[in-house]
Amino acid sequence: MNFPRGAGQQFQPTKFEERGTAVAFTTPALSQARIRQDSREQLELTVSAFSGVKGNYVIRWKDVPDIFSLTMHDRALQDAIHSGNSCLPPDVRRATLETAKTGLAGPEAQRMAEEALSDDEDEKLLTSFFLFKAAIEKMSGGRMDLRVSDLTTEAGRDKIKSGLGDIAQRLHTSSNELYRRLENWGGLIAQLGIPGMPRDCRLRRLISGISNLASMLELWADTDKSEASDLARVVARVARFTEEFARDQAVLVGRPVEHAERVLANWDKAEANIRKDIERLWWTVDGWEFIILLWHDAERQDRDTQRSAVTEIYRILPMIPEKEAANRPNLQAMQESTKMQVRALEGWNSGALDIEMVHRVETIKRRHL
């Protein structure tokens, strides 16, 4: 059957919410399938068509265990996400880590999840500390001597609250309320952090990781003679575009710190904006961690494995939807470059679970950035 030129284009996701969030399933056929909400706010899964043709299957989330033969880990993950009823990237990530913590994807994935959750807590504390510090300096001329431990003890928190008294009065609120606003703000941007922190938080590491991946794939493509080299160049180009887009988003999320007083004075409105911006950043980088780790894993293996990895990466490449980046001058060129014929080096199907394939996906799950 011949399709008219551009057929299917109208069904491409135009917004992040339509594209959905990548889910770290260990069932090979579902690896990095995406979850999203339908028009009735019910969760659904989009899976690449198995025959290798363009397009996706859309399946009701609750039906996924009936349609696919899932690993035990994936049954638990499906259930955890179903209970949370959210497909926002941070919520899906949380559910993923909590599920991996059960050990159903193996002891190494379990340990990684425990470490990642603990890192999240550390980053939250650190970001809050630097945010409190920066905001208070901006609003009071840096009079308050703040320590990280002040945020973890009742006495410390009381000390901060009493120090916030004058500022709170100026903002027509209470010091308790001001503390709560700063705390919420810190929680919202915890995984991005703010500029000037001694270490990069997760989202910044991820953005740097996307940039490194682009460089590595550009180099790799120059040394490869197969058709995978073209795919690698496309992936590198998309990675560069995503990295630049994400960096701009990160600047946007960090900017309110410069105007802390105004932000805290109009907190309800500001909070909604910060939440919206950080969510956009989460969506932008969603799916890239798996890709980066997949490449790191392949990088140490033979050329055939690397070519397969590039093909797999191309298959799951998280493109930024058109409406999200409509004002970017090079969006169209980047999208054009991804419209090419792909011939996967190896086929895969949805038969009975292949323990080695599952193991391969789990290997990626043992690491995090």
Binding site: M72, G103, K225, I355
Partner: protein
């Protein structure tokens, strides 16, 4: 020096955290110290540890005339299994005596001049794909060495006394045969360099159409030029491939084109070389020690063995008696049985037990982690062998082990659910009991599949739900 091993282990762990410049410095230091401070074996061990990182960083290597000399045939080098000459391969053991002989055969002034030029040439930067000094200096060295060595090889073919003398100097007939192969490769070094570019990076996995064409063109060019023996093009190609059997249809397609070797056709040449490689592989398997090889590597060996035997049988290369293959098969069977299956229960079942409450929490957690890791590694290895166990005659034993393990885990899981229902686990609390259940579910899934595991998970979670909070 006794701490070098632990240093190396440490480096291995942190291999990808070391900056590129440091890797480059370390590589040069080891290579330069090879003859002076470190033994060759120690230097090779150190470089072996660094190798995964060297592939990525590509630091400039310490270049010597010997390394340049070896470059055209370095892909053919193998660590010998015995004193026998292997067709199409060159023993590493022959390198030193042959190079010694070459240096003394060449004009001393020319060697000195080459050494001086080498010293004055700048090393390539970190990350360079190739070292341009090699083809530049090699063009001269390979050509004068080939001319000089050809005279001696030809004389050795017709003069028995000279042959005996030369063989004695080199350390035996096998080394002399290796010298002849070195000479043959040096004679066609230029077309091989061109072909190397096409067959890069090494190892070449699935051959691309362009690469097949390049091999055919190189073979035809060497045949037409008369500069050397075209068979070496086949040896070079197979040596750069992961799976040399891919080349058989290409060689068969060349029909009766002369290879320059005892009337061998390209197809026969390739088969003879592959048979030699297989025999060496079988010999190495025949000596595998279960105690020294990790489970997952044994499983990989079994897989490689069965795949190789399959390829050979499909091509008729396994017809007739194959003593090395038979020894390897029975050795692998033995290693799988004693190293993997006999102790499967002792390795897997402890992972299902609850962490020891008598020791401190962190130590107990670490011990539980290690036990789970060992158990999973063992099960993955057994499952990997299970796919091809018939090839080593171990299918029944593997099947029985998996069945028994599955039953034991299922029984243990059933016992756990019964204990939960009976309230015997209440003191541990829901979270700890869940962890224990998940451990059993995971292991049952790996051993017996998702159906049994799903039932255990459902029953277990239902029982836990009824536990008091």
């Amino acid at each position: 020096m006794t701490d070098l091993a632990s240093e190396l282990r440490d480096i291995e762990r942190k291999l990808f955290e070391i900056p590129d410049e440091k890797v480059a410095q370390l590589t040069l230091l080891i290579e330069r110290s090879r003859a002076v401070v470190l033994s060759a074996a120690m230097a090779d061990a150190a470089l072996g540890t660094l190798r995964p990182r060297l592939v990525r960083t590509r630091p400039p290597r310490h270049l010597t005339l010997q390394r340049i000399f070896c470059h055209p045939f370095e892909d053919l080098l193998v660590i010998p299994e015995d004193q026998e000459k292997q067709f199409g391969r060159i023993s590493r053991a022959s390198l030193a005596p042959c190079w010694d002989y070459v240096v003394h055969s060449l004009d001393a002034a020319s060697v000195k001049q080459l050494e001086a030029t080498l010293r004055s040439e700048a090393a390539p930067s970190i990350g360079a794909v190739a070292d341009p000094r090699i083809p530049k200096l090699g063009a001269t060295l390979w050509s004068i060495a080939a001319r000089r060595l050809r005279e001696d090889i030809s004389r050795a073919d017709s003069d028995a006394a000279f042959r005996a003398d030369l063989a004695e100097k080199l350390g035996g007939e096998a080394a002399l045969a290796d010298l002849a192969d070195m000479t043959g490769m040096l004679e066609i070094a230029a077309p091989l360099e061109k072909l190397r570019e096409e067959l890069s990076p090494k190892p070449v996995g699935k051959m691309l159409d362009e690469q097949v064409e390049a091999v055919k063109e190189a073979f035809a060019a060497v045949s037409a030029s008369g500069a050397g023996l075209p068979g070496y093009v086949i040896a070079f190609t197979i040596a750069r491939m992961t799976d040399g059997f891919q080349l058989l249809p290409v060689c068969d397609g060349m029909a009766d084109a002369p290879t320059g070797f005892d009337g061998l056709t390209p197809g026969q040449y390739a088969r003879r070389m592959l048979a030699g490689d297989s025999k060496r592989f079988f010999k190495s398997l025949g000596r595998v020690d279960a105690a020294k090889v990790p489970d997952i590597n044994v499983a990989g060996m079994v897989e490689d063995f069965v795949r190789l035997v399959g390829r050979m049988e499909a091509d008729g290369m396994a017809d007739g008696p194959q003593p090395e293959m038979d020894v390897a098969r029975s050795r692998l069977h033995e290693v799988v049985k004693t190293g993997m299956l006999d102790s499967a229960g002792d390795t897997v079942l402890p992972a299902l037990q609850a962490p020891d409450g008598a020791v401190d929490a962190k130590a107990a957690k670490d011990a539980a982690f290690e036990a789970k890791l060992q158990a999973e590694t063992r099960v993955f290895a057994i499952q990997k062998v299970a796919r091809v166990a018939q090839g080593i005659g171990a299918d029944k034993a593997v099947g029985l082990t998996l069945k028994t393990l599955g039953q034991q885990i299922e029984q243990g899981g059933g016992g756990l659910v019964a204990d939960i229902k009976a309230g015997k686990m209440n003191a541990l609390g829901k979270d700890a009991v869940k962890q224990q259940l998940y451990g059993a579910v995971r292991m049952l899934e790996l051993v017996g599949g998702s159906q049994a595991a799903g039932k255990l998970m459902k029953d277990g979670l239902a029982a836990i739900e009824k536990m008091p909070d």
